[in-house]
Structure formats: C-alpha cells, structure tokens
C-alpha cells in the first residue's frame, strides 16, 4: 500500500437516478491510492462505472459520498491540472490541430510570450508525429490523427494528472498499436501520473504499472489490483516475450470471466423478483 498517495480515492460513491426515478448506485466504496508518476489502468465490464470514476476525477461529475484528493487537495471542479483524453477525439473541428492545442496552452500559460506558447504546442505535436499537418483543420484529420492531437493537447497542459477514457477505443488495431507506442514514448519523458480506462487487456498490461480491476455494477468498486513489473522503457515485442506477460493476461481475463458469471447469476436472481439481493 502506498503510504502517502498523490491521488487518493477515499471510498467514493456515485448514485445516479435511473430513468424511472429510482436511485442507482453505480459506484460504491471505490478506494484507491496512486503514487506520483504512476500509470494506472482501470479495466472492467462495460457499464460497470469506469467512465464515472474518471469523470469524477476530472471534476466533470460530482462525487456523492467520499472525496478524491489530488496532491492533498479535494477535487471539487474541473481544471486544466487534470487533462482528459476522451474516447471520441473531442477536438474542435473548426480549429486547426495547432489551435486546438493552443487553446489549452494559452489558458495555462497566459503570460508566456506568444512564440514560447507556439513552440510548446509544436513540440508536443511533433512528438505525437503530427509535424507537418499542424495547420490542417481538425475535421480533416483521420481518427488516429485526431487522437494524436488529443494526446498532445493533454500533455501540453503539463497537468498533475492525465485522465484517459478508452483513448484508443475507436481506432483499428494497427493504429491503436501505433498510438500506444506514441503515448508511452511521450509519457516516458514526462512521467505524469496517469489514470486510463480501457477494455483492452493487452493495452493495460503494456502501458501500466498497476491494473485495477473493477467489479461489475451496480455498486462497483475495486475488485483486484495487479502490479505489472516490466522495466521501463518498454517495447511491445520485448514485453510479449516474457512469460509473466501471459500470467498477467491470464489473471486479468480470469477476473473478467468470473465477473461475467456473477453478473449472469445476479441477473437471474433479480429476474425472479428478489431485486434487493446483489452478491
């Protein structure tokens, strides 16, 4: 356990109101400590509440019970110290790639000289491999390119925390592999504490220091945590040669499979009419 966490979820809960007006406890008692400079992935079944946790960390959604602390401060609103890379590349399509990055940089370094700000943007756009397309409108970029800009935009803010919600979910597997390398490369030089939601077991193992497995909702929480001990910098081919890779993989998949069974069992129970009893 981490003694003095940089990011701390103190058993937080989130209760939504479902369409029928009934309270729906999506997340309950989510407890997690993350050290500074750590890369943590969250995996879990669809709809278990991964995005909910991430949005609360971003300050885009309110925590109902408990609190999230970053650097000893309670998170109570959104801010540029927590950069988000959304699943859909939420670039502003009417702005160029450069202007999209600049929008945030202008906000974070309002007093820097214009040249400095532009250089900063170009540095990160270059790093994600977008050197010559920076003046293209975001609307004219491919999805992969857009997500590259999304990554550059997040890093250029020099945030305390990087939040990624299935950043490569919409991409084909080739582009996804490319972007995982790009992300890891930039991250290696910056070592920004990162929290990433993913569905992809291999992605989680390859990128993270620890993988957090969430139980299925309702009342989802941390089910298990798997530390990944590959040395950094990592390379995909090397990582996949290790036997431990397949042990990690096995571990994660078993957790997800078990969760599925439980979910099915739970579904049967409630269909009989005993809605109150989950687990």
């Amino acid at each position: 356990m981490i003694e003095k966490p940089y990011l701390h979820f103190s058993g937080i809960s989130k209760i939504f109101t479902d369409p029928k007006g009934e309270p729906y406890p999506a997340v309950e008692g989510f407890e997690l400590r993350v050290a500074k400079g750590e890369f943590v992935s969250i995996i879990g079944h669809s709809g278990c509440g991964k995005s909910t946790v991430l949005m609360m960390t971003a300050g885009l959604s309110e925590v109902v019970i408990g609190g999230i602390f970053l650097d000893d401060k309670l998170i109570d609103e959104a801010g540029p110290d927590r950069a988000v890379v959304f699943q859909s590349p939420s670039l502003l399509p009417w702005l160029s790639a450069l202007d999209n990055v600049l929008l945030g940089v202008n906000r974070v370094y309002p007093h820097a000289a214009k040249e400095t700000r532009l250089d900063l943007c170009k540095y990160y756009l270059n790093k994600v491999g977008l050197g010559k397309d920076i003046h293209k409108k975001a609307a004219d970029l491919s999805n992969g390119m857009k997500q590259r800009v999304g990554i550059a935009r997040a890093f250029a803010l020099k945030p305390k925390l990087l939040l990624l919600d299935e950043p490569f979910g919409m991409l084909d597997s080739l582009t996804r592999a490319d972007l995982q390398e790009v992300l890891l490369e930039v991250w290696n030089t910056e070592k920004i504490t990162a929290l990433m939601v993913t569905h992809d077991v291999d992605e989680a193992i390859f990128l993270s220091d620890r993988v957090v497995m969430m139980t299925s909702g309702p009342s989802a929480c941390v089910g298990d945590i798997l530390p990944i001990s590959f040395a950094r910098p990592r390379h995909k081919a090397q990582v996949m040669e290790q036997t431990s890779y397949y042990q990690y993989r096995e571990h994660l998949i078993r957790f997800l499979e078990d969760g599925k069974d439980k979910k099915a069992a739970h579904g049967m129970v409630s269909s009989i009419g005993d809605g109150a009893s989950h687990f």
């Binding site: 971003a58 300050g59 885009l60 959104a78 801010g79 540029p80 927590r82 950069a83 988000v84 959304f86 859909s88 939420s90 502003l92 399509p93 009417w94 702005l95 929008l103 945030g104 906000r107 409108k137 609307a139 004219d140 803010l157």
Partner: protein, 340 residues
C-alpha cells in the same frame, strides 16, 4: 478547375448549371444532355404551361379595373416602368444642374446669405421602392439578429433562462405583423420626436415591425443549436476553465453556427414577407406602398403593375433565400457531421 467551379455552384445551390458546365467541357455528352433536360428542360416546360394557362384564363376575369392582365400586359408594364425610371433619372439630373446654377447665382448676388439647395421632390420610382424595401428589411433583420443571437446563446446555455423565456416566445412567435403595426406606429410616434429626424419615422416603424416578427426563428434556432452542442466540447471548455468570452467565441458560436444560420434564413424570409405587408398597410415607402398606390390609383394598368411588383417581391425573396442558403452551407463546412 471545372470541379472548383462546380463546387462553388453546388454551394450556391445552382445545381441546375452543373450539366451546362460539364457540357461546355465536353464531358460525356449524352448523359449531361439528359441531366440538362431533367432540370432546365422540365423547368422550362413548367414555365411555359404556367404562362399559357395564365394568358388563357386571365382575360376571362373582368374586374372594376378591367380585365385581369395576362403575361403580355405585364411585360408591357415592365417596359413602361423601366422607361419611367430612365425619365426620372434624367429629370433628377436636370434638376440638379439648374438647382446648382440657381444657388451659385444667389450666392454671387448676395455673398452673406445662406442659400440652401432644394431637394428634388419627384415621385419615387419602382427601383427606388425596391431599394427602400431592401434597406428596411436588412435593418430590421440586423436589429432582430443583434437581439436574437446573444439571447439565444444565453438561453441555450442556461436552462432556467430558457424555461423562463419560453412562454413569452411561444406566445409572441405566432403574432402576425398586422397586429404589431398599430402599436409600433403609436409607440414610435410618441417616442421618436426629433425635430429634424435623421431617419424617417416610417422607416423606423417598418424596420421595427420586421424585427418583431423576424426575431423568433433566429432566437429559437440559436437556443436549440447551443443547447445541442456536443457535450464533449462543453467538457473541453470546463477542463480548460476557459474564460466566458473564449468559450463563446471559440466553442459555442462555431458549434452552433449551422443552426444559427438556419434560423437567420427563416428570419430573413419572414422579415421580407412581413415588410411588404407592413408597407402596404401603413403606406410606408417601399414595394408594399407601390402596390397600395397602384391599387388606389385604379388605372387600367394598375393590375399589371401590381403583378410586376409581385414577381419582383418573389424574385427578391428567392435571391435573399439563396444568399442565406449559400452562407449556411459555407459555415457548415468543417463541421463534419455536426449540425446542418
């Protein structure tokens, strides 16, 4: 190059001319000819049938002012109106020359005296009326937009404001210009009491009536466009903690632009219709007054002249709409699938 011209044509909504251009370029002749027939050819036939029926039926109907005019009489009046215009222009020029001579002579005779140029007081020509109407409709439209867009943005961003204003919008939206006119006339007459007005009272009344009716479509569409902006874009603004003005100009307005222009297009169309009615009723200068004057005049040519006015009104309305469509398509570019 060809494709560029065709692209521009498409944006401007002149799809009809695309085959013509391709034909000139000598692209697959038969297919383009077929396309041409399907657009211009069919439209030509429709026009022919319309003119034929008109020429046939019109003379059958007798009114106090004689027969209902057919296409030939209307064409005559178009020529007569253009002749009148040329005569008036000549008179005006001649007046300017003699007036200048008169003033100069007076000044020479009596250097200390302030001599004023008299204004030419001829009847406004048809073209003058068109011009007046256009200026009025754009003034009213501008006035409406200046209120509708900011208010619409605020409504779209703030659900409370939206539900607060909604009843008012719903009640005022369907009110016809005819109902506004008396109130606007009375209020403007009471409030606007400048001794030497820079703008004519009639002009202000017409413009305000136009705005009162043109404001609603822009307001509603702007609010709708802003309210339906992709949540991700708004989240970007929240994460970056953008200043209110940056948020509006970099995110909200560009995102809602296609909706806003849909609203503006409807508003301009409504404004143009309203203006003609307002001018006709209150006899404020413009095309509507031309129609009314001809109706009062009651000469044998009056009906034909009114028909000329009707075609003019329709044509101008069509052109205004085309302009707005072009602008709309233009701002919708670079929007991917958003809006439009």
């Amino acid at each position: 190059m060809t494709e560029k011209i065709i692209g521009v044509m498409r944006i401007a909504g002149f799809n009809v001319f695309v085959p013509v251009i391709r034909l000139i370029q000598g692209e697959n002749r038969d297919e383009q000819l077929k396309l041409l027939w399907r657009t211009i050819g069919i439209q030509g036939v429709t026009l022919g049938v319309f003119l034929g029926l008109w020429a046939l039926i019109a003379p059958q109907i007798k009114t106090n002012l004689g027969q209902v005019p057919g296409p030939a009489q209307v064409w005559e009046q178009i020529q007569s109106l253009s002749l009148e215009y040329r005569m008036e222009t000549k008179n005006r020029k001649a007046f300017a020359v003699t007036e200048k001579a008169r003033v100069e002579q007076k000044r020479a005779e009596n250097p200390g005296l302030e001599v004023k140029m008299r204004r030419y007081s001829g009847r406004p020509t048809f073209l003058d009326q068109i011009f007046t109407s256009l200026v009025t409709v754009f003034t009213g439209f501008l006035l409406a937009s200046l209120v509708a867009i900011p208010l619409g943005v605020l409504c779209g961003l703030n659900r409370t404001l939206m539900s607060a204003l909604n009843p008012l919008i719903q009640v005022f939206k369907p009110v016809s210009p005819v109902a506004w006119l008396p109130i606007v006339t009375m209020v403007v007459s009471a409030v606007y009491t400048v001794p030497q007005p820079w703008l004519e009272k009639a002009f202000i009344i017409s413009a305000i009536t136009v705005s009162l009716c043109a404001i609603w479509p822009s307001l509603i569409n702007t609010a709708l466009g802003v309210a339906s902006i992709d949540k991700d874009y708004i989240n970007v603004a929240r994460v970056l903690k953008l200043k209110f003005s940056t948020k509006i100009f970099k995110i909200v307005l560009p995102a809602a632009l296609p909706y806003i222009f849909t609203g503006l297009r409807i508003s301009l169309g409504v404004g143009w219709m309203v203006l003609i009615a307002a001018e006709l009723l209150s006899q404020n200068p413009g095309l509507g007054k031309f129609v009314w004057d001809e109706f009062q005049n009651g000469s044998s040519q009056s009906l034909a002249r009114i028909m000329v006015a009707i075609f003019t009104i329709g044509l101008i309305g069509f052109i205004l709409d085309r302009i707005m469509v072009t602008l709309h398509k233009w701002v919708s570019f670079g929007h991917g699938t958003a809006g439009a």
